[in-house]
Amino acid sequence: MAQQVNQALAKQFGLSADEYGRVLAIMGRTPSFTELGVFSVMWSEHCSYKSSRVWLKTLPTKAPWVIHGPGENAGVVDIGDGLAAVFKMESHNHPSFIEPYSGAATGVGGILRDVFTMGARPVANLNALRFGDPKLAVTKRVVDGVVRGIGGYGNCVGVPTVGGEVNFHPAYNGNPLVNAMTVGIADRNKIFLSAAAGIGNPVVYVGSKTGRDGIHGATMASTSFEKDSEEKRPTVQIGDPFVEKLLIEACLELMATDAIIAIQDMGAAGLTSSSVEMAGKGDVGIELDLDHLPQRETEMTAYEMMLSESQERMLMVLRPDRQEMARAIFAKWDLDFAVIGQLTDTGHIVVKHKGVVEADIPLAPLADQAPLYHRPTSETPKPAALGAVADPVGLRTALLTLLACPDLASRAWIWDQYDSTIGGQTVKRPGAADAAIVRLDGHTRALALTTDCTPRYCQADPELGGMQAVVEAWRNITATGGKPLAITDNMNFANPEKPEIMGQFAAAIRGMAAACVALDFPVVSGNVSLYNETEGQPILPTPAIGGLGVLEDAAQAVGQAIAPGQTLVLIGETAGWLGQSLWLREIAGREDGPPPPIDLTAERRNGDFVRGQILSGAVRACHDVSDGGLLIAVAEMALAGNTGVALNLTGDHAFWFGEDQGRYVLAVDNAAATLVAATAAGVPAAIIGTAQGQGLTLPGIDPISLTEARAANDRFFPAWMN
């Protein structure tokens, strides 16, 4: 690799002329090939957040229960009983289009490492997936591979996959989104961080050997996806969940001792970002000798070893007197363990290979002088109001059509491929409740977990859409009885160099921030994935939210299943908002109008009321009203409980399918008491029907049997895939 380092090469590496100028100024000389590689990945969008940082800083990140907010490998919140929940969401979008199985699998592996690197045992995985038009063969191939990949990795490592969400839209045809979230549990007082300390302390590499996998993956994730990606294609990373499982156990075993000073997974940009970040955060220098690096292939160069994205690897700084004990633990688990360097007082990262210094870079300017862009933004024009829209098909046909559409069809085909019960703590499995409920082993406490975003709202009005994504996560946790604590986010957007896209990003953040403040629901971790566009076709703006809440007593959690004799009470105001609704898209064939407005004060009041009712024991089942509106929510409760509902309200299509926010359907035994409590709390509440029989009946239309509704709802995935 005797390539000449110059501006042209820098450009190939994704550095702009201005950025290369900064490199020259920092180095005071022409950088070596390896040094250029280090700068290019550290200053890539993926690692430096250079386009998004100014906006991310505006997100609320604090609450009394937040232990570590953004800036660590994952967010950490206090969940009581001396425990902390550690969680984060991360994207693997581009790799999942190139090689869906491996892309999705390694996405799961990567986010697991971000969580257990902090000392937490992973207890739940979730995901947020967006795919293109189901009519395309490529969509089917991607869905099949992604679902198999998520299951293949998660099932093998033995972490239950308990929830997620899936949408389809042609905007994702060439650019699916695969966002994976992991939640782990740690002792509140034993959180491991990545800041290195102790001059002379050994830098230790553990896990799998390094190969030439995914070199320049971080920069690939930072460019849009054009036809020539065939050629740019890096060696695809293959996940090894078996090694990951060993790595989890070995790291947790070592973490039970006092050996570890700092630890960090090797994620994007591999050894480069892990070593640079650990040393940088600890304000120390670091020296690596690559001769000691466990290698899978021969003749690897320093550049390749520094940039490899081989999976299932971790970097640690250990107490020197614990080194041999640590080595024995990794030997027990049959994992590589190698001392590859030590901490220094030089403030530089120095990389040696075969006796040659391949890189020598001052760490402070590498971090401090990283580019930061205030990219121009332009506001998304507010959509014109939606006038009256006539009902072309009637309620019955609309209900059956909506139940069968790809965005509302039963996802059982997907979750049946994910092990959701391993661990023996899954109180509410996928499909059982608005949020998954996972009890904490040995405690009565449980976590309520969800992922949410409605990209069609974000496209029409990014600020409202960002707000709605946060609100829906909060509502889903609330609907189980959980107290919402914090969120992680995965900001999936198109090319930030286009003002309209950067405008979407800024607006979404504004909306999210407003919701976080109003709901006391701070952001504690997240991930940004930009340049999600293929040949000029941008994705819908998709700020996916992963929400976490807690229940003091898992037995108090409620699900969606109703039973005969219960009364259904609707909480919240119904105006019949059809703009951007699924009814409008699927029945009227239109994607327009403004999305439903959100009243954060009402949202909070309604939610707090619902949670209070659930925790008081008055509620048998609860479901929030979201995609598809009220009649869909009722139908889903009926299907979950295999019990019909006699609805006693008369309403038009806008009433039954409008997507007004801030609403829940409660199933209660004593509706009168619920109404009294609601009035006292200033919360709109109305009886809408009774759970009974084997069908949905509503005034003026032929009854819909549960069998018919179930057949419609169950059809899409099996018919498409089998």
């Binding site: 190139i98 799998s208 996998d213 695809v236 990373q237 090894d240 078996f242 081989s310």
Partner: protein, 80 residues
């Protein structure tokens, strides 16, 4: 006519299966085992009787379906 399509991971692509098998063989006391790679073999019964045409057809199948050419390479052999 029979076609046999052998599909292996490309050189440089991690092969967790092969690696684990290698370790297991060592564990069983088999010495002198170096790299182990695992692949797939797909045997096809073809109506085609011309060997060249059968091979071309099998190669087409491999490219379109049997192999994942992002990470795998394949080889077709025709057996009478």
């Amino acid at each position: 006519m029979k076609a046999e399509v052998t599909i292996m991971l490309k050189a440089g692509v991690l092969d967790p299966q092969g690696k684990a098998i290698g370790q297991a063989l060592h564990g069983l006391g088999f010495a002198g085992v170096g790299e182990v790679r695992q692949g797939k073999i797909i045997q096809l019964e073809l109506a085609e009787t011309d060997p060249a045409k059968a091979k071309a057809a099998a190669e087409d199948m491999a490219r379109k379906l049997l192999a994942n050419t992002v990470i795998e390479s394949f080889k077709v052999e025709i057996k009478p």
